[in-house]
Amino acid sequence: MAEQFVGRVSEFADGTRQIVKLGDTEVGVFRHDGTFYAYSNYCLHQGGPACEGLTIAKVEEHLREDKTSMGLYFSEKDMNFVCPWHGYEYDMKSGECISDRKLKLKNYQVVTKGDDVYVVA
């Protein structure tokens, strides 16, 4: 299994991402809440750079017991990353497309060795 150097853990701030070339393809590596996640940078919609856009908390609509809406809220725990071409949103922790969970970006293993971060092909 080939490993591609991504960067230094100490220089990889939480909440940021890096895009690395892995052979003929591109991989987006995120650091979120201290954990690294890596996904294909090709959106499942039209092939846009899925990992290069905004990261933003999942939007939720909260309902009361009587089914009336309390309005819209940002999730306290779920983070998405968004393809900047058309807004397709992906779950940071699974790579699933939040509007159709059957669609899932290819994910890659991330390993750290000392202060070095690698993505595994």
């Binding site: 909440g15 750079p49 968004v82 900047p84 071409w85």
Partner: protein
């Protein structure tokens, strides 16, 4: 540059560079060898509101020109009807908030440079350039201002923008449809200009397009061998939409609604019989509305033909005589999409459109990769139908050979 995400959290993203943003589109273009295939984008946009300082001096009336130009000072009101909307999805579609960060070189129009960047990335040879904010001009409360704004935009586009682009942009100019006499004058004035392939009705309006006063306008367009486009849009202010609480709802319905409205009037009032040589193109409503309207109108026409006495065939037959732009193409149910293509005779009547840089743009691959299309259909839809209709020349020998092969070569 930082974008604002949840709870004010700042997310750092790179400055916008259209070529870089669309690098994956360029990969698709190379992999599919688009250079051998003439690709025409029959609906692309620029942000003319960012050029109003250059456009407004072309207004003819001294008083109205002074009124709009003085209003350009910061904090003054809009001069074109504006609407509530969230096209950028709260910054998720980053090219909206980042647009002003994109660098261009001095000495050449910014809109031309940006247009050529996305065309080159997508593998598009020609783009029909439409405005953005002025798609609302039909909502302007002042008829004379609609006339003046269209006049100024049409002069600026044909005298400043198109000449800088060396023929890769063409256009269908905005008609001030609220004033038939002024519309006719603009057809007579601009219809013969280089790069003008027809005229465009902004359909965010409720004016009856079959009004007798407009017949001379359509006749003038037809006589010149030009085309007529109906370009749709959303409008949260439309009374029937005031009960919608989300932009997704207004956007999903609005673009189809206005073209359904005007296409119904166009068909039922026999405009296809009155102007049989006028190519009519329905733009930016997707495709799913067309089978719906064909079935609804045919069903009612079979029982009520006396209310549409000019028709010599079914409404759907007239609809099949007209053209449609692809975007935003509903690729959700492939069998439904294939049925739609069959119902509209897509091979000869459908034209690819990107709608770039708007949020729901479509790449040429949305057509090229469809599993049910023949090679001929792909070539026709991606560019051949537009080349035939708008008399666009191939840009290399391979494109010429393909246009000839599929019967679309009209411009030598």
């Amino acid at each position: 540059m930082d974008l604002i995400a949840d709870r004010g959290r700042r997310v750092t993203v790179e400055e916008l560079n259209t070529t870089k943003l669309l690098a994956h589109a360029a990969e698709q273009a190379r992999a599919r060898k688009y250079e051998d295939m003439l690709i025409v984008d029959c609906d692309a946009h620029h942000y003319e509101n960012e050029n109003f300082n250059e456009i407004l001096p072309f207004m003819e009336n001294d008083v109205l020109r002074q009124l709009t130009m003085s209003g350009r000072a910061k904090g003054r009101h809009s001069i074109v009807p504006a609407q509530v909307g969230y096209q950028d999805m709260g910054g998720r579609v980053t090219r909206y908030p980042l647009r002003m960060t994109e660098k261009t070189v001095p000495g050449k129009l910014r809109d031309v440079q940006l247009g050529e960047r996305w065309m080159d990335a997508m593998g598009v040879d020609y783009s029909c350039l439409f405005p953005t904010g002025m798609l609302n001009v039909g909502l302007h409360p002042q008829k004379e201002m609609e006339v003046e704004l269209c006049w100024a935009y049409n002069r600026w586009l044909t005298e400043v923008v198109l000449p800088e682009n060396h023929g890769r942009f063409y256009t269908q100019l905005a008609l001030p449809l609220s004033d038939p006499e002024a519309s006719l004058r603009q057809v007579e004035t601009f219809g013969g200009r280089k790069g003008v392939t027809g005229f465009m009705v902004t359909t965010v309006r409720t004016l009856p397009v079959h009004d007798n006063a407009l017949m001379k306008v359509y006749r003038a367009i037809e006589e010149r061998g030009l085309s007529l486009a109906f370009h749709s849009g959303p409008n949260w202010g439309e009374p029937v939409f005031k009960g919608l609480n989300r932009f997704i709802s207004v956007h999903a319905l609005g673009f189809s609604f206005y073209n359904i409205l005007h296409c119904t009037n166009w068909v039922i009032n026999g405009m296809g019989e009155r102007f049989p040589k006028l190519p009519v193109i329905w733009i930016e409503s997707g495709l799913a509305w067309i089978p719906f309207l064909m079935q609804r109108l045919d069903h009612e026409y079979m029982m009520r033909p006396s209310e549409a006495p000019l028709l010599k065939k079914k409404p759907s037959d007239y609809m099949r005589d007209m053209f449609y732009s692809t975007q935003p193409m509903e690729i959700q149910d492939m069998e439904a999409l294939e049925t739609t293509f069959r119902m509209i005779n897509a091979e000869t009547q459908l034209m690819y459109a990107s709608d770039y840089p708007h949020w729901d743009f479509d790449l040429p691959s949305t057509i090229y990769d469809l599993p049910f299309l023949s090679e001929k259909a792909k070539h026709n839809i991606l560019g051949g139908n537009a080349a035939r209709t708008f008399k666009l020349a191939p840009r290399n020998e391979a494109q010429k050979a393909n246009l000839i092969k599929y019967g679309n070569y009209t411009a030598g």
